[in-house]
């Protein structure tokens, strides 16, 4: 049996850039034009193989708390990766991306994997942000970057594969959950290597 590693991924980005749509596409392979601002969805999970491990992504949505700049620090706790989303048709959303990155550097764990997603690439006629700008910026902060379309299912799988590859391999000497207790969990087989 392959070892399952649970990886918390948090989503960041302005309201309306398609954060929830990306997760929805990735997890359910589904796209809804009239997705209501994130209600009732706390986090979604999907397990994908990576090398000789299984990565179980626990993808946390902002639950709309970013709307009035009121995300709680607990949102970032223990995240292995962050997906920071902008809308390629809105220059503004690319600007605020940088603020989200700063925010993440302040509150997020130190070795967090950052992935930038330029969403809505199906609307390239309306493009305001060039891929070149995005790439340069991503490089400067050591993030991976792809342009995605949740609507047309472009690069969504690739985005998460990219994250998987960036996750450092498990150090067998390190107990990753550090003896922490989760209430109401039947078993805690957190990232235990099989041997």
């Amino acid at each position: 049996m392959m070892a399952i590693r649970e990886l918390k991924v948090c989503l960041l980005g302005d309201t309306g850039v398609g954060k929830s749509s990306i997760v929805c596409r990735f997890v359910q392979d589904h796209f809804d034009h009239n997705i209501s601002p994130t209600i009732g969805a706390s986090f979604m999970t999907k397990t994908v193989p990576c090398g000789n491990e299984l990565h179980k992504f626990l993808i946390w949505d902002t639950a709309g708390q970013e709307r009035f700049h009121s995300l709680a620090p607990m949102y970032y706790r223990g995240s292995a990766a962050a997906v920071i989303v902008y809308d390629i048709t809105k220059q503004d959303s690319f600007h605020t991306l940088k603020k989200w990155v700063k925010e993440l550097k302040e509150h997020g764990p130190e070795n967090i994997v950052m992935a930038i997603a330029g969403n809505k690439c199906d609307l390239s006629d309306l493009r305001e942000v060039t891929m070149k700008d995005a790439k340069e910026y991503a490089e400067s902060i050591g993030a991976i970057v792809v342009e995605t379309s949740a609507k047309n299912a472009i690069n969504i799988e690739e985005l998460f594969q990219g994250i998987s590859q960036q996750i450092p391999p498990l150090n067998p000497h390190e107990n990753s959950n550090n003896g922490a207790i989760r209430l109401g969990k039947q078993t805690t087989q957190m990232s235990r290597p099989c041997c």
Binding site: T45, E66, R67, P73, M74, I181, L183, K185, Q186
Partner: protein, 659 residues
Amino acid sequence: MADNLPSEFDVVVIGTGLPESIIAAACSRSGQRVLHVDSRNYYGGNWASFSFSGLSSWIKENQQKTDISEESEDWRKLILETEEAICLNKKDKTIQNVEDVCYASQDLAEDVKEAGALPNLPDFEASETSEAAQESEKECLPVESQSLGTASCEISSERIIGNDPGSTTERKDAEMTSERENLCDVTSDQSPLETGKTETISTTEAAALEPKKITYTQIVKEGRRFNIDLVSKLLYSRGLLIDLLMKSNVSRYAEFKNVTRILTFQEERVEQVPCSRADVFNSKQLTMVEKRMLMKFLTFCLDYEQHPDAYQDYKEYKFSEYLKTQKLTAKLQHFILHSIAMVSAADSNTIEGLKATKNFLQCLGRYGNTPFLFPLYGQGEIPQCFCRMCAVFGGIYCLRHSVQCLVVDKESGRCKAIIDHFGQRINANYFVVEDSYLSEETCTDVCYRQISRAVLITDQSVLKTDSDQQISILIVPPMELGQPAVRIIELCSSTMTCMKNTYLVHFTSSSTKTAKEDLEPVVQKLFTLNAETERESKNGGLEKPRVLWAVYFNMRDSSGIDRNSYDHLPSNVYVCSGPDSALGNDYAVKQAETLFQEMFPNEEFCPSPPNPEDIIYDGDGTPPEDPRFSNSSNMKTEPLSEESSDENSYKISEEHHKE
């Protein structure tokens, strides 16, 4: 603000402390449209936790004596003839006597700042760094931050280096530099990586080696590793908060550590209290006879109600007196009174003591060897978890959002709306307000108690063992009659509340004087305040840990206040209190549930969430079989793996037949 706030809600909640957050979650969960605001730029109010720089800003803010100048009264135009306004507080007045002291050596800490800290509070004094200037061009950052992020961490004038009055100095005093350099063997330039290496060496090698001295600069640099709670509480493993977290599934947002030790302070020494069966048998401090006595008494306490004859005659006695009548040595009486029942020797009667002892014993063994859990990253996470729950069900969140007034309809006497600091009028049916937001006018008849608090950063545990990762609770009985007992909780770095090689030590008591006057005598009994001097008794092994940094403050205790003592509050305005001084969180949970039931008598309080949030699509798209996400209301949440084995607990068999 890019987005406009709607003007119609069912419930407006003002304040993000624990009871308000639970109510917000409960309301949102039951389908109400909730607006949850806080005038501060962080979650939790007096339940919050801060990074080191965040706490420094909080300290400064609370040391400022100046009141906020009167703002424009334009909003009064929004009040109709038939209405009147109840103004809310502009400035929080619940924190007093804030005093911080740095004992660690301060090696030219001029430009040190917390890694990653942002100068991000727009209304805070502009910082001079060019980075900050660039940022301010782009207007306000998304400031979810808890840290108010001052670029430089200045040291307030109250701070004193060392204990020696002669060394009292201001921060920019450079004369002492050379001396300091000699004293501190770790330079500020040392990278965390290097520090890490030396640590491993020093722990594995000779124990006689003096541990590395942590400097103030290091604390500031590693400031984000700290999560310093304003209140110091623990969760009883069978307390109301744990039950609520599991029932509502909010528990998924947090992780916990079991408190590893119960300590006691007797005859000027810190000792570990044996509290589980295994502990008692393995204890080296107790004689065989004492072990039997203790086991016999504790076994009796577990079902004391069944044996009324054993305590009937002592009902009116103090618990401490009752213990004297039992076959217990003085040492055992001390253990039971202060460390197990944790009741006051002066006030608590026999029944209260027995009840507390039973509660303690019942909480043992559920998750580990003590009855208590502590949330990773601090108690301040818990309100945030409930806020997330509220948001997940559609609640809207606005920090940095103050409310000018409540608008009351004269005829019906009911509150109709609030007017916020933008002058927007927001209508709702129910209003939940945390006590500190109510103005002095509203609270003239209210009599508040105070809590004395101290938080220390120290370099060693109060009781060293093989493991440096212990979480301990210690009750220090009053030194003089009439004084309150002091509760101490010592946290290690694996709780994610302090940097490596330090401990965060929380002191709490009810106040008789200022926090410093109440608590410093106890601090001095347990710790060395003079960090500059070499340890004296290197061979004796009785050396006390050093205090590197400390803060003292008094916090208002607004629990237990009769609603009728608030003047002229409409019946649809519900008041939540700030943190109480008790160890557990039962008061806040009870209050939240009571208020919620008053508002919505027919709604269930925080039922476990339904689909769709629990739908898990696994790779192949099949619906989940995972029982922990099942939708049944009869939750089977007992985590088997965490149950400890038989000898660690008095009571485990009852685990699976509740109700």
